[in-house]
Symmetry: C2
Subunit: 153 residues, 2 copies
Amino acid sequence: MIFRPATRQDLPAVLALLAQDDGPAAAGPPEPAREPVSEAHELAFAAIEADPRNEMLILEEGGVLLGCLQLTYIPGLGQGGRERALVEAVRIRADRRGGGLGARLMELAADRARERGCGLIQLTSSKRRTAAHRFYERLGYTRSHEGFKLPLV
Amino acid sequence: MIFRPATRQDLPAVLALLAQDDGPAAAGPPEPAREPVSEAHELAFAAIEADPRNEMLILEEGGVLLGCLQLTYIPGLGQGGRERALVEAVRIRADRRGGGLGARLMELAADRARERGCGLIQLTSSKRRTAAHRFYERLGYTRSHEGFKLPLV
């Protein structure tokens, strides 16, 4: 298995993966359909790729995309000046869930953030996704915070 | 009142504010003591200032620092390619809490993120801070997520 930043060539497969329902019980298509790549997607991916504090990371095996997540490295005045890593857009292919790939992906992400020198890794998960909460707690995460969101558009 | 990005000259006062207990019932000192500025603080502040997707923002009046927060603008493939804004390090001076300054600061932050084109603004708040949760809900935020953290050091 390879864990690496996604390139522009990976973008259609990554969009297809992100479009899959991320609920643990979701029965997604065995082979992700290719999503059309809009100009907004192109621009957003280029912004991630050009930003030294953002990475769209993928887990693949034999050319097959198994999972993805985005890491954002946030500078801050706390924690002795160490960055914190924020995790967003976590997905495992629907037909490969339940076999430990999610745990592997999250471990690789934490290792990457630790090697970079981050003091903390954090994420939020919808309150409806109770199986995901147990998953993160098994990985050592503490459910210490409430997550608030406000749409701006 | 002025709402603007902090400069290097503001750093000692910002560090003093961040060092105040952020609990709503905290009785902090009426005049924030000046924190010594370590090299780690200098480097972290320089990283925030140099990053076009990070801002340490302050609210001041007559040269007095009333509050601060950090905004991080995160590019992503969701939301039609719009950035999301993450809020961290929210503080209001201990001797000026309870008078609506926190709401004003959060409104200014949301306006700034909206003007930039962000689709969403989000934050996490410690589960112990129940008064803060009601505060964010009054501002229109939805407590939709669980917040997970894992120390890396």
